[in-house]
Structure formats: C-alpha cells, structure tokens
C-alpha cells in the first residue's frame, strides 16, 4: 500500500495519467463512430392512413398550421409540401416545434412510425409534393466520388466538407449529418427544410442524391484513417488540441525532467 501511494506521488504518475487520458480519448472517439442504417419505406398510403392522419393533424398540428393546413401566423401552409417534408420534420422530431426560435431543433421523436406515416399521408393528400424516396435510392450503393463532388459544391459550405455542421446567421446553423438516416437526408434535399435551399430533382437528380448519401455514409462508416477526427472541425480544433493536449503533455514532462528525485 505504501509503495502505491509513493508511486502516486511520483512525478511520473502525472505523465502516466496524461498519457492514459490521451489514449482513452482516442479510443472513445473510435468507438463513437457507429453505423446508421437507412430504413426502406413505402409511399403507398391507404385511405385509412389519410383519415387517421387528418385526425392526428387536427389534434397536434392545426394550432399553428391551421385547420386544413392552410397556414396561420405561427406556421406556414403545408399544401404541396409533400409526404417527404412531413416524414423529415416529424421523423427527426423537429415538428411539432417546442417553441419559436431561430430554427426548429432536432429532438426526440414525438410520433411513432405509424403515426408519422399517417400524418404524411394526410399532408400528401392536400396537394402534390415531394414523396418519400424509394428504398432503391437509399441503398448507399451509388458512386461515392461523384457524390462527394456534388456534396462539396452544393452542401459543404453550410454543412462542412466532412458534414460536421456549421454556423448560419443569427443563431441558425446547419446541423452535422452524422447519424442522420439516408431517408431523412434525401428528404431534406428534396424539400429544403427551414433555411436550407430546395434541391429539386432538376438541380440534383435522384441518382445524384443517392451518390451524396453514399458518400456521406461512407465517410461516416469508415471514420478517419488518421485516428480520432477531433470533430472534423478543421484547423481550430487542431490548434486547440496542440495547445492543450500537446503542450500540456510536454509541460508535464518538463516538470518531471527538472524536478529533483526524492
């Protein structure tokens, strides 16, 4: 016991601790890159779905979006936004909104898959709009390199080249895309939620969208070849790391090096 407590006071102990911390952090980062599979979905709504959806809508959404989804002061009209829009907004928990703010936040999903489908069916029945993508477009088997090129031209300026997210004006932001299902990414491109521009099929073809999703899922699943990615935030994160961890460990060594041995 005595030996242990002496060792704990040993100058090497601090360094050992720092090194361990460094290794553990690295390990955790590697573990945190988990896979996320997109779900196949169907766009065939039954009449019953539409009917149930109408009830759900009246109970949960009409306060802001108005009866018949015609829109009010507090929420836009949903005529013509399509099933994809509902599936994205409700499926990611952004709707129903908790409160008005710079933008709707992603939060725990409020409706189950069945209810979301019914709501989508109801909104889709109000007017034509982007529908929920077919499973074939979400198979992540497109051309990742071309997807990457499209992503850099159309998406990277807001979402960051490694899809780590970025800031917009006055409290708005483009969220990180890791952990977002392929279906939701597709729907976001097709419908342009919040301040995101619309990327309709004439702008980025369905195959292009499939390539983008392939690319995103590839970088997400592969992780960084160089080790922990430090949030993929670029030189700021790297600079912070070298000042705090790099210099920190080196200072610990210099203190040990210049201290007297007992």
């Amino acid at each position: 016991m005595k030996a242990l407590s002496q060792k704990r006071r040993h100058p090497l102990a601090a360094i050992a601790l720092l090194l361990m911390g460094l290794l553990v952090t690295g390990g955790l980062y590697a573990v945190a890159t988990t896979m996320n599979q997109a779900k196949a979905s169907t766009t065939n709504f039954t009449e019953q779905d539409t009917e149930e959806g109408g009830k759900l809508f009246a109970a949960n959404c009409a306060t802001c979006h108005g009866m018949g989804a015609g829109g009010t002061q507090d929420g836009p009209s949903l005529v013509g936004v399509g099933a994809a829009s509902v599936d994205f907004q409700v499926g990611t928990g952004r709707m129903p909104m908790q409160m008005n703010g710079p933008q709707a936040q992603e939060k725990p999903v409020q409706f189950n898959e069945e209810q979301t489908r019914q709501l989508a069916a109801y909104v889709a029945s109000l007017g034509p709009g982007p529908s929920i993508p077919e499973a074939g477009l979400l198979d992540e088997k497109g051309n990742a390199a071309e997807g990457g090129e499209l992503f850099r031209v159309n998406c990277a300026m807001c979402h960051n080249a490694a899809a780590a997210g970025g800031a917009l004006t006055r409290g708005k932001y483009a969220p990180p895309l890791a952990g977002v299902s392929g279906q939701h990414i597709y729907e976001a491109m097709a419908t342009g939620p919040q301040n995101m521009p619309v990327f309709n099929d004439a702008n980025i073809s369905p195959e292009g969208k499939r390539d983008i999703i392939t690319y995103l899922k590839q970088i997400e699943n592969n992780g960084s070849p160089g080790g922990a990615d430090l949030g993929a935030l670029g030189p700021v994160a790297e600079g912070l790391f070298v000042w705090i961890a790099g210099l920190g460990v080196i200072i610990a060594f210099t203190i040990w090096l210049t201290s007297r041995t007992s």
Binding site: P197, V198, S224, P225, T261, S262
Partner: protein
C-alpha cells in the same frame, strides 16, 4: 519607515519605504545545503533505479518491434484490399511503436540522469560579454585596416565602389519582374461575356448541363458555371475563379430591383457572383427563408432582397449581379458579362469598372 504593514492591503497603491540604497537588504544566504537522494544512500534504491532505466530502454526495443511488425504485416496500396480501418490501424501502430521507441529512450536517459548521476548544483562565474581591453585592441585593428586600405585618402575609389555596389542588385530586381505578367484588364472580364453574339447558357456546377427556368423552383439554389467552362483546357480554374454564380429563385415581390436593373432577373430568378467582395471566398450559404447570403470565411452577410447589399461583416460592396434571361429553348442565359469586376477590390478596380460601362 520600515513599518511592516507597508504593502498590506490597508495601504493603497504606492508603498513608501526608504530608498533601496539606504536600507540594508537581506544578505544572500548562498546555496541551500545539498539534500541526498534515496539512491545516494541506499544501494537498494540505486539498484532499483538502475533496473527501471533498463526497463525503459527495453520498452523502447518493444516499440521498435511494434513499428516493424505494423510496417511489414499490414500492406497498403492498390490490390491489397486495405480498408480505411486497416490504414487507421497501421497508422496507430506505427505511431505507437515510434512513441514507445522514443519515449523509452528519452525517459530512460532522463531517469538515469535524475536518479543516478550526481545532482550537486554547481555555480560558475559569468564573464563580461566584452572587456574594455579587447575593445581598445579591436578599435586599433580596425583603424589599421582602414588606414592600410587607404579608403579614406582615396575618395574616388570609395565613391565608385559605392556606386557600383548600389547598382549591382538591379538585374536581380529586373528578373523578378518576369515572375508574372503585368496585370491588364483580365480581372475586369469573365467568361460570361457573349461570344460572337451568342449568349452563354447558365450550366450546373460541376457537370455543365444547362438549366431551364422551370427547373428553378422557389427556394432553390443552383451552383452555376458558364457554358463551355468544362471544355476549356487552359486557364480553366482561372476562369472558374471569376465566373462562378449562385442562382436562386424567390417570390418576385420580395425582390426590390433598382432602376435599370428590373430586367436582370427572370420571374424571381436572380444570379449573383459567388465570389465575396471582401477577400474572395465563395459566398454560397443561401438561407432560403431570410434571403441572406453568408460567407463562411469571414461572415459577410448579403441581403438578396436588397440587391445583395452588405448587412453584416467585413465586406463593403454588394455582390455583383449577373443579368439573365431565357432563350428560345427555355434555358437560362446571361445577357451580358458582369457590369463590374467580380471579387475582392484592387487598386485599379474603379478604373476597370468605368471602362466596362463606357
């Protein structure tokens, strides 16, 4: 004087004790007595330290082996079927091996020095950086040298030498003049200028396919390059650096074109240069509800509903607008080049702008 409460918080600011010279100071007691280490007195502790040092050197050997194994066992390159995970593993092992190899040697040597080498602090006298005697000798030598060259007595030699030396670097400066061409009006023109009366179509970046006005729905943002850019062989990036455009459609009601610019858009479709007027980053963050354009480099914000006037950040000039229309086949075309130089300002910019518009 000498009141010990001087310097206590009761006295603000200035502390008045007697001048330094008058008051006797504490005498330097000299180096503190040397304290022995465990290893100096206990042979067992010394033996233990010796084993620790050897262990650290041994760890270094292990590290070197880790490196070699990782280097030869994991194969990279085409045909090896290596995945990103393999590369990450190899990188980690190479680094870990190097770290062990280096840290083992480093900490081993330092531990050896700290625990086993003598740790008596030694005091050494400092010497003056310069001695007066040396200075005088040096002055005499320099005087002699100057005298022997006779440079003071022969001003003709001195003056012609100075002249020659002053002029000699001129060729060096002259050859630097050919590092690049003189800036002409290249900065004032882009690829959008119609060629032989044919208006350039707006095409998608990166594939170069033309865009129909009907493709651009409200809320859309298209990243646009001029027709024919991808076919360029030389200077493609130079042209692209000036010509890239962002195409957006919003409710025509919310656009407020100034007189003379009413027909620069088409049914609410407008095209603006993507190159920031601050220092040239692509301004491409379009917020489709607020109609703001944000530059991700320095956060200049432009308001699309006010002809891209600066509303925040370091830019000072609005983004240049590209006048567009629709051709017979329904494709969007640029009716002319930009009416001003795009991108960051430069000294001759105003002159160029005037020549474009004259």
């Amino acid at each position: 004087m000498g009141n010990h409460s001087d310097g206590s918080p009761n006295h603000s600011g200035t502390v008045a004790t007697a001048g330094q010279n008058e008051v006797e100071k504490f005498q330097d007691p000299g180096l503190p007595p040397h304290r022995l280490r465990l290893a100096d007195t206990d042979p067992r502790a010394a033996k233990r330290a010796e084993r620790q040092v050897a262990l650290l050197f041994g760890l270094s050997v292990v590290g070197t082996f880790i490196f070699l194994v990782a280097y030869f066992v994991i194969d990279l390159g085409e045909g090896s079927g290596a995945t990103i995970a393999d590369i990450r593993l190899q990188n980690a092992l190479l680094g870990l091996g190097t770290a062990f190899a280096m840290l083992g040697i480093g900490t081993g040597i330092v531990h050896w020095a700290k625990a086993l080498m003598p740790d008596h602090e030694v005091s050494e006298e400092r010497h003056a950086v310069r001695y007066e005697e040396d200075r005088q000798a040096a002055v005499r030598i320099v005087d002699d040298i100057v005298e022997e060259t006779g440079i003071k007595r022969r001003p003709l030699i001195r003056n012609t030498l100075l002249g020659a030396v002053a002029l000699a670097p001129l060729p060096a400066i002259a050859i630097f003049g050919d590092l690049g061409p003189r800036p002409d009006k290249a900065l004032a023109h882009t690829m959008w200028a119609p060629e032989d009366g044919k208006l350039k179509r707006l095409t998608r970046d990166p594939d170069g396919t033309p865009i129909k006005a009907s493709d651009v729905t409200i809320g859309s943002a298209f990243h646009v390059i001029p027709e024919g850019l991808n076919e360029l062989h030389e200077g493609k990036l130079n042209e692209k650096a000036k010509a890239v455009v962002l195409l957006m459609r919003l409710d025509p009601e919310s656009l407020n074109p100034s007189p003379g610019r009413e027909d620069w858009g088409y049914n609410g479709i407008v095209a603006y240069s993507k190159i920031c007027t601050h220092v040239g980053c692509p301004v491409a963050l379009y917020e489709q509800q607020t109609h703001h354009l944000l530059c991700p480099c320095h956060q200049s914000t432009f308001d699309l509903t006010k002809e891209c006037k600066v509303i925040f950040g370091p830019a000072s000039r609005p983004l240049p607008q590209l006048p567009i229309a629709v051709d017979d086949e329904g494709y969007l075309v640029a009716t002319s080049d930009f009416n001003e130089p795009v991108g960051p300002s430069y000294w001759e910019r105003d002159e160029h702008e005037r020549s474009i518009n004259s």
